[in-house]
Amino acid sequence: MNRKELRLSGFGGQGIVLAGLIVGKAASIFDGKNATFTQAYGPEARGGSCSAQLVITDEAAAYPYISNPSVVVAMSQEAYTKYAAPMGEEVQVIIDEDLVKPNKAQESRVLKVPATGIAKELGRSAVANIVMLGFLTAVSKITSVDAMKKAVLDSVPKGTEELNTNAFNRGYECGKERIKDMGAKK
């Protein structure tokens, strides 16, 4: 059975939940798999650490919660400490390097993207989540590129398509380069 588990985390207001819904839509509607999205839902969702979980499988009605994530994305220091730092080597850890300083043990293997910095360059820090999705798509293969692009365009407000496409592409290119660098190092 092919089962992938993903956690997206950050603080409330960064669009973590939207990013999670986009991944779910990409996997289930556009890639034709089964995806289950759940979120830590509570008072902590406002300003505190915020987390979206996804299970992507080939089977229907699978166990809906994550236990062994293969990818953890952290877009805040608090979320990094809580969700990413405890992860072992088999887990791909992705951080927004403008907001998260990884611990020494993980520093050499963490995948870094300046998502917030790129979003600011594009004129809207709000699209940092979409930059992150572009990066995630490039480095993790959690969904196909086409599916993720379609899901982004299907989910963002009308009139922001170009901005979000740019954000996605910038993140995606950044991810491609990161993979190339890693290949060179090896």
């Binding site: 289930s28 509607i29 999205f37 759940t38 979120q39 009605a61 166990y63 809906p64």
Partner: protein
């Protein structure tokens, strides 16, 4: 979206929203409710969608009024629904009984959260299962359905409306926070592929109509207000005309029918999902999110060589007595995981009647079961 405002296609949506879309497809055009976590998204979606399809949404002052309003909406001829959770469900109990007594088709969606009282507003539990059956005073039958996924929230909300019209009774969707807030793909077929049970209209002339005179299946056809049929609705014990009749005889006739119309039509109402029960030593009997969580334990148990079957109660009420009795004769044990201290397990135990052991896997709520705990119970049951 189709011309009549129905969504058609594949959507990534949560269980609450899927339930609202199911209601729209079922023909629900009136929703009265009061927002409460984790059911708010049902109301939110209905507030957005009903005006698009020519329906009406009202935010009421509380859940007592919400329940009253949907009874009125239904008598006016419009399929009606409300949604709630926790304390709101408690407040609806009195008027739910009025709905049962006046045989008013309507749907109540309960996205269960952890109680008692305010409890854990944002976290899951299946603590209202007995309240669903017995929550209003007096004697009446209950139809309650427990979906396990957003797709089922969509489909079974349509089923709930169909059963409510067919049996002229409130039908409860007993979901939970886990399923309500979980997002998955929901496939919405075009209307022509969706089966809808229309309101049972009277076939007799207007002056011969008796609003509580039942057909052979114990359900009376329903004339709507404004269609020329005279009717009288009361929570008092009433005769076939709907007029109060304060006698033991009238009580026996009416209340026996209210119970029997559910009890004697059980085979038509009950929906079960079975897997691997033939030859099983242990059968996991569960519902809603717990049934889904149990799948992982069942899979692990089967890998260990334990013969384990699954009986998923898609409808929890009326309870499938006969089914449990039959299975009990052939197996060692039932394992019943539920997010409470033991509610539906009491029914399983009653029906098993000692022929098979009954092992409860309780959980006080706030999270779902650890599948390993269910696995341990399956191991225990197989020995």
């Amino acid at each position: 979206m189709s011309r009549d405002g129905q969504l058609v296609g594949e959507f990534f949506m949560n269980g609450d929203v899927a339930s609202a879309e199911g209601a729209i497809c079922a023909g629900c055009r009136f929703f009265a409710g009061y927002p409460i976590t984790p059911a708010t998204e049902v109301a939110e979606r209905m507030a957005e969608r009903l005006p698009e399809v020519g329906g009406t949404f009202i935010q009421m002052e509380d859940e007592i009024a919400s329940m009253a309003a949907i009874l009125g909406g239904s008598w006016g001829g419009v399929k009606s629904m409300t949604s709630t959770s926790g304390p709101g469900f408690s407040l609806m109990m009195e008027n739910l009984g009025l709905g049962a007594m006046t045989e008013t088709p309507c749907v109540v969606v309960n996205i269960q959260r952890a109680g008692p009282s305010t409890g854990l507003p944002t976290l899951t539990q299946q603590g209202d299962m007995m309240q669903a059956r017995w929550g209003s005073h007096g004697l009446y039958g209950t139809i309650a359905i427990a979906p396990s996924s957003p797709q089922e929230m969509f489909e079974l909300t349509i089923t709930a409306f169909n059963l409510s019209e067919k049996y002229r009774t409130p039908v409860l969707i007993m979901s939970d926070e886990s399923v309500g807030h979980m997002s998955e793909k929901v496939v919405i077929p075009p209307m022509e592929q969706i089966e809808i049970f229309p309101r049972r209209k009277p076939t007799v002339p207007v002056d011969e109509y008796l609003p509580f005179k039942a057909d052979a299946d114990l359900v009376p056809p329903m004339g709507n207000a404004g269609e020329g049929y005279r009717f009288h609705v009361t929570g008092l014990t009433h005769d076939e005309r709907g007029y109060p009749d304060m006698t033991a005889e009238a009580q026996d006739k009416l209340v026996r029918r209210l119970l029997d119309k559910i009890e004697l039509n059980k085979d038509d109402i009950i929906i079960l999902e079975e897997d691997g029960i033939d030859g099983a030593e242990v059968v996991v009997c569960s519902y809603g999110i717990s049934a889904r969580v149990a799948l992982l334990a069942v899979k692990a148990a089967r890998e260990e060589g334990i013969k384990v079957g699954i009986l998923r109660l898609v409808t929890v009420w009326p309870f499938p007595d006969q089914k449990i009795k039959e299975i009990a004769k052939k197996i060692r044990a039932f394992v019943v995981p539920e997010l409470n201290a033991g509610q539906v397990v009491l029914e399983v135990e009653r029906c098993a009647g000692g022929a098979a052991e009954t092992i409860l896997v309780p959980h006080m709520g706030g999270a779902v079961h650890d599948p390993d705990v269910i696995l341990e119970a399956i191991r225990k049951g197989s020995k």
